[in-house]
Each structure stands twice: as structure tokens, then as C-alpha cells.
Symmetry: C2
């Protein structure tokens, strides 16, 4: 195990060419693409064309002439190819939180006799919070259960089970096909949050018979800070589902300006307000890039990076108190790796000061993401060497690394 071994792994990397497609600041090893993906080099030029050309010169006519009005569906059709969906089953719109609200309420509309939503405790907070909001307004009950009680709790009152496919802290990956089938066995719907999956692990929603899904544009998909999110509604659910966020873009004929809402018969019924064109433009650049890579190759390389990182940390940093959280089996996890350590926060700060950017999650989790499009095994080696030096010199115990600040 040495740096030459890492380089030999990189020598056969089928995705190596993608690194050149990203802006990666010198001196930085970026292990936080699971929180905010880096800037694709093609994005600034495309944004300038949209802003200076389409907006500046085209003005209002660009809604039609530049195809702005179709951007949510156009980007959705691209995204669909990454998650095993049909082009007309996905739109890019709003935030993950807002989309989750639409689909959780939509699930209640699809199961009118049922009044319970189920999720797991420790799910990404906004997922639980949004489900609380849906249930409070709709008069439904939210059950927040430990992960090992979720499946057995599904019953005839369950409208939907709502889970994040890859856990934001532990990276534990749910069995998408198995849990979806368990929900269906009780007549419940399945709603997956793919925020930590898409662009990382291979997802095939229709092969798993999934009903509903949402996900985030700014993590592994590299759509930019606060990028528009996406949502999926299986074609067989589109005729019946009702979004409570019945804004004009969801109307069957938005520009007929009818007096009353009449939902679009297709996925556009899940749109709400005017689409955010700047964010969508950046998102489309990122999706076009992602689509050049085979999702299976992406997952395979990411698993190799994660396996290598875990192995290096557990051997070269042994005895310093870092404990892997989440499963060790790559088939049961996503592409970020979390180690618990009592000084987790300070260690992450010391790493950032040395150019290794990961992040920290309460109470004691140092989290590192291994985005396959731009990272190399050599960088993993270098990152672990820096971690080892920090731990061996106790650099993380310096006072400047003790301060706590909000990090997303």
C-alpha cells in the first residue's frame, strides 16, 4: 500500500477524463462534493449566454424562443436517464423540501382512506420536518421510527413510506426494491429521497417499481449552490396524484388564464411557480456532463475510492480513535464515508486548513464524499496522509480548530 498503488488504480480509471471538466482549486482535495459539487467548466459560459443573450437581448421572447418555459421538463428528461425513469416522469423544480411536500401530500391524495406516513428517525432533518408540516395541515399522522422498525410498521393505514435511499450521515443504503415491495404488499406507496444517491450509486426506479421520488441538484449532480431539485412520479400515478401546491405551471393550460385550477394530466401537474431559469441553466450543463458517464462505472469507481479510503484510514491512522460508521459492505452504502471521533469537528477543521475539504455532522462525525467524476485514488492517498500527520502531531488540538460554525 503506497502512493504508487493509488496511481496504478488511477491508471485504468475509465472516468479519468472527467476531471478536466471541473474547476478544482489548486491545493484542494475536495471531499465535500456530496454537499456541494464543484463548478463544471462549461457552466460559466452557458450562464453568460443565458444571462447576456437570452435575457439581455431576447428579453420576454426567450420564454418561448429560448425554450425557458420547457426547462423543467427538459432537465427532468435528462435527469430521468440517471435514475431509471422515463423522460416524462421527472421535472426539475423548486427545492427538495418543497418537492417532498408536494409528493408526500400527493401520496395522501392517492390513498384517501389512509392517514399515516412513515419515516425513520435520524432521516435527514428536512425530510422529517416537511412530513410534519404535511401531516399537520392534512390531518394525518407521522410515524418516525428506528430504521429496523420501519418495515414491520407498515400497515393498512399507511399511505406512504418516505425514506432517504442513502443516509446522509452513515451512508447506509436501503434495499430500494425490497422496501418498495414491502410497502406495496400493504397497499402503501413508496417515496424515496435520492439526494445522496443520484450521480453516485446506480438507481433504477422503475425496475424497483417505485411510486415517487425526490432529490437534490447540488450534491453529486454539481448543479450549483441551491440548484433546483427534482421529483419523480411514476407514470401510473400521474393521473390520480394531486399536488397541494397547485400553482399556474401545474395547470393543464397555464396561459389560458382560466379561473379555476385544472391540473395537467402529466408530470407538469407537479410544477408550481415560474421556473428559476438561471438555476435550471446551470443544472442542465451539469446533467449533460453527468450523462456522458455510465452510472454503473460511476458507482464502481466511487466504491473503489471509498474502499481505498476506509482501508487507508484504518491502517495508516490506526490507534487514533477513528471509528467507521455505517456498513462496510459497498453494496449497502453510498459514496460518502463517515468516521466518528470525539474530536471530529476539530479534525475536519484541521483538514480544511491543509486543503482537504470534508465536513462535520453532529455529534462527532467527520464525513468525506468521494465523487467519482473528478477524484483520484492518489488524492485519497494524499488526503489520508494529511489526516495521519494531523493526528500524529495532534494538530487538531490547536485552539483555532475548536470554533464551531454552521456548515451545510
Amino acid at each position: 500500500m503506497d502512493r504508487a498503488h493509488a496511481q496504478s488504480l488511477d491508471a485504468t480509471d475509465p472516468l479519468a477524463r472527467f476531471r478536466e471538466a471541473f474547476v478544482l482549486p489548486p491545493g484542494v482535495i475536495y471531499l465535500d462534493g456530496n454537499s456541494l459539487g464543484p463548478l463544471p467548466k462549461a457552466t460559466p459560459g452557458r450562464l453568460a449566454a443565458v444571462v447576456e443573450g437570452e435575457w439581455g437581448q431576447g428579453l420576454i421572447t426567450s420564454w418561448n424562443a429560448a425554450g425557458w418555459i420547457d426547462a423543467p421538463q427538459r432537465a427532468g428528461a435528462k435527469l430521468a436517464r440517471l435514475i431509471g425513469a422515463r423522460p416524462d416522469e421527472v421535472v426539475v423544480a423548486d427545492s427538495t423540501s418543497v418537492n417532498l411536500f408536494k409528493l408526500a401530500a400527493g401520496a395522501l391524495s392517492l390513498r384517501p382512506g389512509r392517514k399515516t406516513l412513515i419515516t425513520e428517525s435520524g432521516n435527514f432533518p428536512t425530510d422529517v420536518y416537511v412530513l410534519e408540516g404535511v401531516c399537520a395541515l392534512a390531518g394525518a399522522t407521522l410515524k418516525v421510527l428506528p430504521s429496523d422498525e420501519v418495515v414491520s410498521a407498515i400497515d393498512e393505514d399507511t399511505a406512504a413510506v418516505v425514506l432517504t435511499h442513502v443516509h446522509y450521515k452513515t451512508a447506509r443504503r436501503w434495499d430500494m426494491a425490497g422496501v418498495t415491495a414491502a410497502a406495496h404488499a400493504k397497499g402503501a406507496l413508496m417515496l424515496w429521497d435520492l439526494s445522496h444517491s443520484t450521480g453516485a450509486v446506480a438507481v433504477d426506479l422503475n425496475a424497483c417499481n417505485v411510486d415517487l421520488a425526490v432529490g437534490c441538484g447540488y450534491k453529486y449532480l454539481n448543479g450549483g449552490p441551491g440548484a433546483p431539485a427534482y421529483l419523480f412520479v411514476a407514470e401510473r400515478r400521474q393521473a390520480q396524484i394531486r399536488s397541494p401546491l397547485s400553482g399556474w405551471m401545474g395547470h393543464a393550460e397555464p396561459f389560458a388564464f382560466e379561473d379555476r385550477y385544472r391540473a395537467s394530466a402529466d408530470i407538469r401537474a407537479m410544477l408550481c411557480g415560474t421556473p428559476p431559469i438561471l438555476g435550471l441553466a446551470a443544472m442542465e450543463v451539469a446533467l449533460d456532463l453527468q450523462l456522458e458517464a455510465d452510472p454503473r462505472a460511476v458507482e464502481t469507481k466511487g466504491q473503489s475510492l471509498c474502499r481505498f479510503f476506509i482501508e487507508l484510514v484504518e491502517t495508516r491512522c490506526a490507534g487514533h480513535g477513528l471509528a467507521l460508521t455505517g456498513p462496510r459492505d459497498m453494496a449497502e452504502r453510498g459514496l460518502h464515508v463517515s468516521f466518528a471521533h470525539p474530536d471530529g469537528h476539530a479534525i475536519v477543521q484541521a483538514l480544511i486548513a491543509r486543503g482537504v475539504i470534508g465536513d462535520f455532522r453532529d455529534p462527532d462525525i467527520a464525513r468525506f464524499g468521494f465523487s467519482p467524476l473528478y477524484l483520484s485514488h492518489a488524492e485519497v492517498w494524499d488526503a489520508v496522509e494529511i489526516l495521519r500527520e494531523i493526528l500524529e502531531t495532534r494538530a487538531h488540538e490547536r485552539p483555532e480548530y475548536r470554533a464551531r460554525a454552521a456548515v451545510t
Copy 2:
């Protein structure tokens, strides 16, 4: 009445210098800033700095280092100065439709014994549609009434009256203080949609004792296509109001990752998902520019442009069947002017072909917006001359102007 008179009006325009702050394509007279405002010249540079610097180089650290996380409140505090609100009463976030959903549901939460929302028929469609969605999910009743029946219908079951301050078609302006007082007299709350007001007519929410408001960023505010919208909650309502869209950015401590939702005690409780940084950056540039102009001077100039346009159309285009819709008294209207004409759609298309960009609204409305920051009386003169030529030569009857396309 000649072009020299128009030029004499422009000679004393206190806002003349603002024209240079916008990109205005040569050969275009842009009378659609009420639908999509033009590009401020400062926007591309700022966006490039955010994208290439803050995102590209700063990566995840920019959430704190570049102040991204505070952008909704920072932009909100700027917007507050345009609408007579306090800095901590406004956030910029989501779309107008989504914000209306939050506040309409929030109004029901503030008036738990009441189960009716009131709006007017002919209101901008998304407003009615969103209220339908809120009521369906919350088990409330929506009354959609002719404008002259709205005030008399307010009763002890009315949770809120929801109106658009300036009507999107007729430009008729509601008496904000009077209707708000009438709602309060019955214990109801008042929620105004300011989409066609802010940046055009002077608005003073707190002087009118308004409870709640929403509005759009991409019309007179020039925030760009699909710009983030804004919402206002009067300070006295902030402790009790509950947004059903309880995403993590509305939590009292978003980065504490608590298991259950605990709403922020301030305006941040109205936030939901991760803020759209690109859209917010463009919005802040536009707000900084707007804040350089006195809102009273903006309204005064806009009224002069509208009055001049109406006068010119009614004299120089007399006998061609154009009929002003909405009030003639400037105190009762906003800054767009609509004329009904059986060939309204074709006339707008013929004007666009000649570089005069307005828009069309069903069934027969040719609509023209007079944004005060960049338009001149000379342009109004020129636009009406082109309109006169079209009507006199019947140019609008050519087949190419008959086609109908969706226009926002």
C-alpha cells in the same frame, strides 16, 4: 402634442440616469418590464463572481465565507425598504406561488376558528389556484367573488382576504389601507400580492397595517427570469404564524440537525429549502439598483408615462377600436396600461415585429408596461407612432401575426 413635447418631459426626468444601468437592445422599445424586467448591466459581472469565485474557488466554504446562508434575509432586508416593511419582516425565497401557499396556510394557522379565505374572481390565476390547493388540503373554503362583493363578504368565518394589489390585466389598484382595515374590522387578516406593485407604485405595508404579503422578483424588480420571490410577515404575526412548508431553513437551528421541527421565532420560519444562490445573487444586484431610486419618484414618473401613453393612443390612434380597460385615475391604477381590441393579439405581434414589445392577455387585451427606471416619454411617443402606423396600414391583419403562442 409632438415628439418635442415628449423630449421636454424627459429633460426634467430625475430618474434619467438609470437607463444607463440596463441592457436595452438597439431597436427595441421595451414595454414588457411588467412581465420580465431587463438585465441590469451589473448583473453578469456579479453572477460571474459568484459562480467562478464563490462557487468555483470557495466551494462549500462560501455558505459561510460568502454569506450565502444569509442571502434570503439580506435580500429581504433590502426589499423591505421598497415596501414599507422592517428589515426583519421580509425574506426572498421560492416562487410567488409557493410563498402564497405558505402565507395563506399561515393565515389559517393564525385564525384557527375560521375556515374561509376570500379572493376576487379574475385575480391572477396562480393566486386563485394556490388558494384552492391550500383550502383543499386544510379543509377550508375558498370564496372567489367579483371585486365589488369582496369587502361585504368578509365575516367572522373569514381567516384572510387575499388580493393582488394591482390587477395584472386592468392595472386597477386596490385601496390597500381601506381593504386592510375592512378585513381587520371583522377580525380577518389581509394578504396582499404585490407582484405588479413593487418597483412601480409606492407601497407602505406597515402604514396600512398589513399582515402578510408576497410578490414577484422578475417584473418591475428586474431580478431575472424566474427570480426568487419574496414574502412579508408583519412582526406582530411572526410569533404565531406556522408555515406548512416546514423545511430545514425554517428551523430555529437548521444546522443542529434536530429530530423534530422547531420553528424559528423570526421571519426565517417562512424559509423552507436550501436558498437558490444564483437567483438570489441576480436579485440582490437588481434590488441594490432599485434602492437608489426614490419610490415616490418612481411612481410619479411611471404615472406620467402611463398618462402620456393613454393620451397619445386615444388621440393619435382614435377611431381604430382601442378601448382603455381599468381606471383612468392614476391614483387607482398601477404602471401598466391595457387596451382591449378584437385584434389585440395580432396588434401585439405586429408591434413586436416593429420592436415595440408589449404582451397580450386573453381574451382581447394588449398590455403595455411603463417601467420608470429605463423608459422615456420619447419612447412612448415612438411606440404610439408605430402603433398608429400599424393600425392605419392594417399591418396587423397579415397572416403571420395571427399565430398564437404561449407568452408569460
